[in-house]
Every structure is written in C-alpha cells, then in structure tokens.
Symmetry: C2
C-alpha cells in the first residue's frame, strides 16, 4: 500500500500542474481504452458474477455488479463528458491588491493523492478515476472484493489510456490487498491527502474512527419529508411517492415521513393507501396507527433507519418545531424536505434544519450532482467541513495563496 501511495504521490506532481488539454486528452484516451477492452472487461465481470452466484449472493446484489456492453459505453461516455467540464485547477477564487501593494490570489490546486474506498458497482471505478484525473489528483481506488476482477480489468484499461497521452499511469491505481490494507491506507497521513468512503454506514464508521488522514464522509441518507399543516396534500402525495419509490436503493430516497397533526386525520389513511399500492411498507408511530390500524409499529430503529428498500417510517408531530426536533434526532444531515404553502414555515424549516440540502416543495431525489448542474459528482458529502452536499470537480480541490511583491517586508 505504501509503495502504491508513494507512486501516487510522484504521479500527482506532473498531474497537478498538467494543462487542461492534456487531462482532457487522457479522459478521451481512457474512454477509448474502456471500449477497446470491452471484451476483457465483460469477461472479467462474468468471473465476478459467477463467483457471487456460487456464493449465494442475492440476485439484486449480483445485478448491481453486472456489466453489459451498454454499461461499458456509458462509463466511456461519462469520461468524455468530464472532458467538456471546466478545469477547476487554476481557478482564481479571490484576489486583489492589498493595502501594502502586495498582490494576493487564492488559486485552486489539487489535493494531491485521493483515496476512494467504495462498495458495489464497478462503474464507480471509471467515474471516480475520471473525476480525480480531471481535478488533477492521483487516485488510489479500493473497490469491493466482489468486483475485483472487473475493477482490475477496468483500471488496466484506464491506465493504458492515461499512459498513451504521456501522463503518468500511476495517477490511477487499484489497491487489491486484504482488509488490513485499508488500515494502512487510513494511517498514511502525509502520503494520502484525503480519504473518501462511499458505501454503507459500517464502512463509513470504520473510516471515520480509524483514519488519521482527513476524511470526507459521504452518503448515508435518512431523508425525511415533512408535510406541514399548510401543505397542498396532492403535492405532498406526489412528492412522497416520488421520493420513496423512484429509486429506493439510493441515498437521496426518502426513508421517513413526518406529518403535522392538523393534516394527519385526512392525510395518513390516504398516503398509507397510495404507498401500499406502490408496494411500500409503512412503519408508523402510535398516532399513525390510530388513523391506519394496519400500519406496522415503528421502533426507534425504524426512525433511524436508512432502509434503501420499499419501507418508510412515519411519525405525527404537533408543530413545525417538533418536526425539526425529530429530524435533528434521527436525520443523517443529507436531505430534508418540507411540503408547505406557508412562506413562514418554509423559511423556518430551511433555517432550522441542519442538513446538506433542505428542500421546499420538491422531491428529495434532486440531491444529485447532475441535477444540481455540476456535470459530475464523486459523492454526496454529509459532513460540514470542506464540502457539503453533492461534490463536483471544485470540491475535489484545495486552494493555495500566491502573494507577489516587489521586495516587501513587514514592519
């Protein structure tokens, strides 16, 4: 691991100051190499799939692993799309002439070496490699062991593409060691500049606890939809169904419903029925169950759960303040939505709720780098330091101050 990190650090130096046209050429070459090696990649993927099937992995999980010719082309298209985005490196964030006459510029620079530890789908490998390359960072990729053969084949193609343009192949490396290897990675302060875990709560907890390298936490989303006393109930229904059922397995799907007591009598039976028709199981508190007796009782664990399935917790509250308190207690700081016609309720909710994204009268599903117009995202940060919410290319950089004088000294 240390040898790989040292290679990454060496590769980061020329990459960090590479002109945009070189990086964009590398992205195109990476895309071409993925398509050129499609057969090898699909062959490697087939090996991963049969190993998982033999191990009795659930069909849904196996399907997440599966690559097809179309999915390989989609990875290549993603890399080519990155080439069209502005280069974040070199952007002058602020600048001016100081009182002393010194010129001050704050300029975006890459972090240096970024480690990404992720679970599941092998398309993340190409996405993450592309975003790191475009932002001038060398990357150490640590994927799931279930996707090992696929990731090896993808990274081999990406490295070939990078090397063909004269940039260092070691800008992209796959770590294939055992679980202990992650431990070394998390202690590689000074060699690795940032670690980004992408995956479930257990992975993120391990990284946050063990790492001395700075961490950007991503992704766990127990997202709430709060239906205010003043809500348009047709809109609330539309938003809840979309937020829960559009794609239940992703972090911006709704997991919890919070309902104002004033609309509960009318709305609870209605939304429970609509959700049941969509295949959603509601886990409700006592107030919900008094209004819809068939609802399963919710435990404290239900309110805290990121189900990632067609389940939804539901609680009735007496006020907007109680809704905020419920969300503060159980939320993960990802995305929280209010449905209301009241300007004052919207203002208070957006001010008081402490989350990366607060949504008024729209689905939680919009929390996404593409939807936000960033063009690409490496993940959704749920921490407050450095980046919060969808992380695009600028969030993959640091800055540096450049001070220019004419022999200035301080007195």
């Amino acid at each position: 691991m240390y040898a790989a990190a040292e290679r990454a650090q060496r590769a980061a130096r020329p990459l960090g100051t590479a002109a945009r046209h070189l990086k964009d050429a590398a992205l195109h070459a990476m895309a071409d190499a993925l398509e050129g090696h499609r057969d090898q990649i699909l062959h490697a993927n087939a090996a991963d799939l049969s190993k998982q099937e033999a191990a009795g992995t659930s069909p849904a999980m196996v399907d997440r692993l599966r690559l097809t010719a179309e999915r390989v082309s989609a990875m290549a298209a993603g890399l080519r799309a990155l080439a069209t985005l502005p280069d974040p490196v070199g952007e002058v964030v602020r600048g001016g002439t100081l009182a002393t006459g010194l010129e001050l510029r704050q300029v975006r620079v890459p972090f240096g070496v970024v480690a990404i530890i992720y679970e599941g789908r092998p398309n993340v490998t190409a996405d993450a490699a592309g975003i790191c390359l475009k932002s001038g960072n060398a990357v150490l990729l640590r994927g799931s062991s279930s996707a090992l053969e696929s990731n090896v084949a993808i990274v081999a193609a990406l490295r070939e593409g990078v090397a063909s343009t004269g940039l260092p192949a070691d800008a992209i490396q796959l770590l294939t060691g055992d679980r202990e290897d992650i431990g070394y990675l998390l202690q590689a302060r000074g060699l690795v500049d940032v670690v980004i875990p992408r995956g479930g709560a257990a992975l993120i907890q391990r990284v946050v606890t063990e790492s001395t390298v700075p961490v950007i936490e991503t992704g766990v989303g127990n997202c709430h939809v709060y239906v205010d006393a003043d809500a348009d109930l047709d809109m609330a229904e539309r938003i809840i169904v979309n937020a829960k059922t559009d794609r239940p397995s992703v972090c911006n799907a709704a997991e919890s419903l919070v309902l104002h007591a004033d609309i509960a009598a009318e709305f609870v039976p209605r939304i429970v029925k609509v959700l049941a028709a969509e295949g959603v199981t509601v886990h409700g508190d006592e107030a919900v169950r008094r209004l819809s007796p068939d609802v399963i009782p919710a435990t404290d664990d239900d309110f805290a759960a990121e189900y990632l399935s067609l389940d939804l917790s539901a609680a009735v509250v007496g006020s907007l303040d109680d809704a905020v308190t419920h969300i503060r207690r159980y939320g993960t700081g990802h995305t929280e939505a209010i449905v209301t016609r009241s300007q004052e309720a919207a203002r208070r909710f957006t001010a008081d709720v402490d989350a990366a994204v607060v949504v008024v009268n729209a689905s939680t599903r919009f929390t996404d780098g593409e939807e936000f117009g960033f063009g690409a995202e490496i993940g959704i940060s749920t921490q407050k330091m450095h980046a919060r919410g969808p992380m695009g290319l600028p969030e993959m950089t640091s800055t540096k101050y450049v001070v220019t004088g004419g022999g200035h000294i301080r007195s």
Copy 2:
C-alpha cells in the same frame, strides 16, 4: 465535557440563526464586560504569573502569559473590530435556477459547535470566542493550564456580556478538566463539529491522531526563503532579515534558507555576516560551511526544525527543482518564499511548491489574516481540506443547499 458539549449544542441553535445586529451587540457587550472586569482579570492573571514564576517557568514564557490594562483593552478593541466585519452567515455562495426550474442556493451556515485547544497567551481566549460568536458557532475553549485563572476570569466576563444581550451564555464555555478531558472532547463526534488545535507540533499531532471529530490543523511553520540564481541580492538580504528577525517566535517567521549555487559564493558570506549582526545563528550544510567556515553544521533535524528562535538552517542547491524538492521534504506546507527577478522561476516555484501560501519577492511574515485583509483570523491552516492559509470568518462556516420547487418530482 459531554455536558458542556450538549449545552454548547443547545446554544448553537439560536446563535446559528441570530441576526447580525444581535451578534454585534453581543460583541460590544463582551468588550464592555472585559473592560468592566479588568481588575478581576488582572488579579487572576497575577495568580497565574506567580504560580509560573514559583514553578521556575522561563521569563519569556511568563511574559507571554502576562496581561496588562493595555492588553485587556486590546482584547476589547479586537471584539469591537469584529462587530464591524460582514456577517459570513447567510451569504449566498452560489445560486441559480436549474434546468428543471428548481431554484438552488448554496448558503453559508455555522459549523455548530467548534472546539479550540490552544496553548499560551490568554488573549487568544477573547479572540477565539469573538470569531466563533460572529460566525454563529458555539465554542468550547480549552486553554493552557498555565493560564487557567486568567481564562476563567476572561470567559466569565465574556459570558456575562453575551447573556446581557439575550443570546445564550453557553455559546462560550471554558473546559477546565484534566488531560483526559481532551480525550473525551476528541471523541465527541456528533456533539462537536470541528476541533481546531492551536499550538506546538506535539499538541497538533495528538489531536490529529486521536480525534474522530474533523480537525483543522493550524500553525506549524517551517517556512523557507529560496534565493534564486536570478535574485536581487539586496532584496534577498532585506527579505531574509525581516522574515527571520521581525518576530522569531511566530509561525510565519523564516526557519530555513535555500540558496542557489550560482549566488552562493557571493551571498553566503554576506548574509551570514548580516544575520550574525542581528543575533541569528546559522546552521549550514557543507556547501554553506565551505563558504562561511564559522557556521554551525546543520543536521537533518535542523532542516526540519521550526526553531521559533534566532536560529536558521541554510542549504545550497543546484537548481530551482532541487530547491522545490528540499522544500517538499522538509517544509510544513505553511509559507514558502522565492526571491527572483525571473518571471519563469517565479511561475515554476508558485506552481510546484505545495504550501498554503507561496510568496514571490516578499517576506514570509505577510501570511496573516489581518495582512490579507480578512480583518481577523482564528489561525493559519496548514491542511488542504476545508481551509488553507489564514482562516477568517468565512472559513469558520459550512454551507447548506436550499432547493425550492413548486411540487417538482424527479423522473
């Protein structure tokens, strides 16, 4: 500690959304209270001083601890100056209307609860409390045990000032427990949002290693001045003397000299003589000592040292690239300066040196929040995540995305 952190978290809620005029009124009330309680503060400080004198602490250290009527007034003036600065909270960092018609705004919000662990001078207590209050953060202050009585008196006055304006006094708390208390603080993830250590390398190392709370590293500065082949040697002399001797005990003072071989024969004897006249001891490599035989030999530790005294390491290099390599090896990523007449050398040095601040033809001493025009600073970050360089009020905030729709759902 946990009880204090919970009180801070409760205080952070009203403080985080408090209007600017309330926070500015609190800053003025804090300043008034410091001056109103000047006698108690000086009395408490006298107790700290006599305890340190009895313990045989060095006169220089005791002097750092010492408060006077003027120093108390300077703390008060610092708080009043903070009231004149713009409120970072609520600033819209970016925003616009998305393709879907959704309105997106990225808005600055406070972190919540900030812990500051610091050594030495008690005036940091008032500065840090003021910056946190203005940026909407509740603060847990953990000062040096040598300044305990002074800090208790200062914090009592500040809390009285805050409370008099209706904001919660628990926005400012002093932690007075033993060393173990710091351990609990560093594990208080979820209660404490950010820890900022301000002090020596040992303190920072402990915080970085033990903390599961996100850390902003500050302050260790092994700052270099590189004199290029193309340097104006008069300018180089002026800058080196200023960078080393203006205030040797601070992190932006120069600690290391790197000299291009082409100017070494002329410049080494000259700068060694000038520095000797200023009381500076030079620790040189073999090339330096061949040119100035009286110079003390430098070890590897010298090149890595943050002396904070009238000592300076010096090395001769064969090229600008070698200078960059030397700085990459020994630097702490704080401030690195080049003296050169060459535009190309300046361009390469600023691009290749990896530091918070890179200076061309000026003293390293300019790395400072006041000098940069930020009005105040909580410290100088030497890490790449979140903030790098002098940290003003905006660096003490996170952001939140607010998304406003008209019933938008994602398809």
